[in-house]
């Protein structure tokens, strides 16, 4: 008899949980993290789904129902209207610098300047409100005309509030409230998606999102060049800033997982990849705070899902220094044998099926690659099969081959 969705849901959650805890299950979990594949597969453009949540929603849902993986992922299309209202500068998106059918492009810059550390360390919220937000959102530029709230006592409150009556500031606040409504609607749509997918039997792979403290400073504040130079020119201030954002990262991670009702928190790692930092720099600036965040999450009963981008082979020994059966490590590029040797029995492994293979290869190529990965990483459990990076362009028959083959070949006897 065909299984009911609730039965399938419970079965999938158990398989996923047991896999993270490194117990041998009935078979390997297959959970491709889709980004724009569902969109292209449905015949939409990126622009279509960024400006119409229902299209993003339906495309994501249809792909899961058609290909039937073990876990689902919500539609990862950011709300275009909200970004427009904010005149958001961190991304280029369709209609704003990239073609309609292309994914976003990240616009790096020193949104926090090298001499902003003191302000940031001294009064971070004031720095964010009056300097950072005006720099990353064109519509919020007038917030530079406001004064610091620490002056807002007694008569100071009058002059503080008066700043909000300026026409430019009024416009900025209007943009903020309108964009806020857009984001709320977007989050609402994501929440509804999770509920419906649960009813259909598919657990979401990811609950919350957060970033490694080094990347918090490096990705959208100081930029790659800025943070790299800070390691040489002002290492103490950089370390203080990392220390400052670490508890916030923990808080964000816990809150986002709680809001989603799902313990898995995804951390996309960027600037700690092999070749970016020397081993000493990684051990000094990158790893200690990330590890602290991971341990805090584990203490809360949450699961850090560490999604490394780029090559990560030289960092494996450090990654092994975590409690057993509590962490998922996703690799884009890594020596798969070394990864299993060092992390097997410690953490659940996933990722690594090359996205270009899914795009240019044949179903047979895909099966061959998955076979080897299942043989190596699947041995003894603790393995989730997924592509190396979030999936945009890929042949449908290759996605089908990846999922069906894992279900068939990945069975533990």
């Amino acid at each position: 008899m065909r299984k009911q969705p609730e039965e399938l849901y419970a079965e999938r959650v158990k398989r996923f949980k047991d896999t993270i805890e490194l117990k041998e299950t009935d078979r390997v979990v297959v959970a491709p993290l889709f980004q724009f594949f569902p969109v292209f597969h449905a015949g939409y453009t990126v622009k279509d789904v960024m400006y119409d949540f229902s299209k993003a929603y339906n495309a994501a849902k249809e792909t899961i129902l058609e290909f039937d993986p073990d876990m689902c992922i919500g539609p990862l299309a950011y709300p275009g209207k909200a970004l427009e209202l904010l005149k958001y500068k961190l991304l280029k998106w369709p209609g704003h610098g990239v073609k309609d059918d292309k994914s976003y492009q990240f616009v790096e810059d020193e949104y926090m300047r090298s001499d902003d550390y003191d302000h940031f360390l001294d009064d971070p919220s004031d720095f964010m409100f009056r300097k950072y937000l005006p720099r990353v959102c064109g519509a919020l530029e007038p917030l530079t005309m406001t004064t610091s709230a620490h002056d807002a006592t007694w008569l100071g409150l009058f002059s503080y509030v008066a700043m909000f009556g300026q026409p430019g500031v009024i416009n900025a606040l209007e943009a903020l409230t309108k964009a806020g409504q857009e984001f709320l609607a977007w989050y609402g749509s994501l929440g509804k998606f999770n509920m419906e997918m649960k009813e259909l039997g598919y657990p979401n792979m990811v609950g919350g999102f957060a970033f490694a403290p080094f990347d918090v400073i490096g990705d959208t504040m100081r930029g790659t060049t800025g943070i790299m130079l800070d390691m040489y020119r002002q290492p103490d201030k950089l370390l203080k800033a990392i220390e400052k954002v670490t508890p916030w990262t923990i808080e964000t991670a816990i809150n986002s997982a709680k809001a989603a009702g799902n313990p898995v928190v995804m951390f996309a790692l960027h600037k700690g990849a092999d070749g970016f930092l020397s081993p000493e720099q990684y051990e000094t600036f990158y790893w200690p705070s990330l590890k602290k965040v991971m341990l805090a999450l584990i203490d809360e009963g949450l699961v850090p899902f560490i999604y490394s981008e780029g090559e990560y082979t030289t960092r494996l020994e450090l990654l092994a220094d975590v409690p057993k059966g509590k962490v998922i490590y996703h690799f884009e590029r890594v020596d798969i044998y070394k990864a299993k040797e060092i992390l097997g029995g410690i953490a659940c492994l996933t990722g690594n099926v090359p996205n270009n293979l899914l795009y240019t290869g044949t179903p047979e190529d895909v099966k061959d690659y998955c076979r080897e990965l299942i043989d190596v990483w699947g041995k003894g459990g603790g393995f989730i099969l997924d592509a190396a990076a979030v999936i945009d362009e890929a042949k449908a028959e290759n996605i089908k081959a990846m999922i069906d083959f894992t279900k068939e070949y990945g069975v533990y006897k």
Binding site: M228, Y232, S278
Partner: protein, 216 residues
């Protein structure tokens, strides 16, 4: 020539490198000699990177040191009216789609310290921008930097555009960058290719000797 500046740059010692440069200027070393030592230091950084001894962070730091040092040397580059200033106009830029600027910067510094008048268009420069600058400045030499293979097509586009606008015969194009070779030269139709900064400078001097035009 002592190795102190070369070593300071190769070892990413910013304060030391700056102090040495100031001393050398005081002692009357020519801007060109100092730039040439900086180039050698940066070359060692590149070598250590390709050997896996240095990382992206080190490359970025070496570039920052180079920029710092150049702000100190630049006022000492040959000036208009002095003997070592040849005033020959060169347009430099990294081609569209490519944002690598280290190689272009090094060649630009070498040229300026040799007395050339360089119009640096920066990175990600569309072919049209080169054309526009040729028309505005009357420069007869164009240096194009390219590091990404898939950007070589834009170099060809630049050559085609020069043909279309009737400017091709009037300018000499030198392309520099890691992926360029004779095949690229043939494919794009440019005049010279090189992946060595010093050789690049020799080419510019050679063109100048041959044509001897395009200066103030």
């Amino acid at each position: 020539m002592s190795n102190d500046l070369i070593d300071a740059i190769a070892n990413l010692e910013e304060d030391k490198a700056i102090a040495i440069v100031r001393k050398k200027i005081e002692d009357g070393e020519t801007a060109f000699d100092i730039v040439e030592q900086c180039r050698k230091g940066v070359e060692i950084v590149g070598k250590r990177y390709s050997e896996g001894k240095y990382y992206l962070s080190d490359l970025i730091m070496s570039e920052a040191i180079l920029k710092e040092v150049m702000t100190i040397i630049e006022p000492h580059f040959p000036k208009n009216g002095t003997e070592s200033y040849n005033g020959i106009k060169v347009i430099m830029g990294t081609i569209e789609g490519d944002i690598h600027d280290l190689g272009k910067n090094i060649v630009t510094y070498l040229l300026r310290s040799s007395g050339y008048c360089v119009y640096d268009l920066g990175v990600d420069v569309p072919p049209e921008k080169f054309i526009e600058t040729i028309k505005q400045t009357g420069a007869k030499i164009v240096g194009v930097c390219v590091l990404l293979n898939f950007c070589i097509g834009y170099v060809k586009e630049l050559v085609d555009l020069l043909e279309e606008t009737g400017l091709r015969e009037k300018v000499t194009i030198v392309v520099g960058g890691y992926p360029v070779d004779e095949q690229v030269k043939e494919y794009t139709g440019v005049d010279y290719v090189t992946n060595d900064a010093v050789r690049g400078l020799e080419i510019f001097d050679q063109i100048t000797a041959l044509c001897g035009n395009g200066h103030d």
